[in-house]
């Protein structure tokens, strides 16, 4: 004789929608912090002659603050970062990103683990 087994699950409390709603602002907050941190570090590292390049480094947020973009707006910014025919490169953006990004994933993890 074959017996019948079964499990009935009754949901008495469902906080998943609230947690889902809280994830986006928490991640956006970490994106903003990391982006601005990269901007600050790049401004500290960039070589300064007149200050124009340093002043041009800025951050832009898009995709509901889930994407942060940071960089210089002056055309010659890339020649400083990557070098030119007779000039050595003096990287300032990538070292800033390298210093900040390893901590970004764990910061997001921490922020998400705090959601209740």
């Amino acid at each position: 004789m074959i017996g019948k087994t079964g499990v009935t699950i009754r949901i008495v409390s469902n906080r998943l929608p609230q947690i889902a709603d809280a994830i986006k602002p928490a991640v956006a907050n970490e994106v903003k912090k990391a982006t601005l941190d990269i901007e600050a570090k790049a401004k500290a590292k960039v070589p300064v002659l007149t200050g124009t390049l340093r002043r041009s480094i800025h951050s832009v947020f898009s995709n509901g603050d889930m994407t942060g973009t940071v960089g210089p707006s002056v055309v010659y910014g890339k020649f400083i970062e990557f070098g030119a025919r007779g000039r050595a490169a003096r990287p300032y953006m990538r070292p800033a990103a390298e210093a900040v990004l390893p901590g970004f994933a764990s910061a997001v993890k921490r922020a998400l683990s705090g959601l209740k």
Partner: protein
Amino acid sequence: MAVEGQMVAAWIWDTLKADAGGSGVNTLVGGRIYRDIVPQAAALPAITITLVSHVDENTVGGRRVFAVTLTDVRVVGDGSGYQNAVAGRVDTVLQNAAGVKSGVTIVELRRDGVQAFIESESGKTYSHVIQTFRTEAYG
């Protein structure tokens, strides 16, 4: 104690110089492989190797375990034609390469990205193809 990033850049220089066969990097650029800057008098194409970033990874107790490094290999050419053949050979030689330099172990080079742009300076035009290689290193 070691400055791992500098050793990575030096090892890349050694490796490209050693690629001296008929279609080797050193042959393609006539031996013009430099650290950081192409001398003003040098002919083109030429290659520069620049340490971009060196971030130490330490234990909680403050012991340094390894460094994560980024290094640019830039191929500079005369005119607006990109030196893609040279850049391609550089990638062939360096991708997944590993070695040791002055007691520092270079774990494995992986290309992180490619940039290319044209520079105009005093009526002259130069092309730049830049490949960025990432590796961990310890010594």
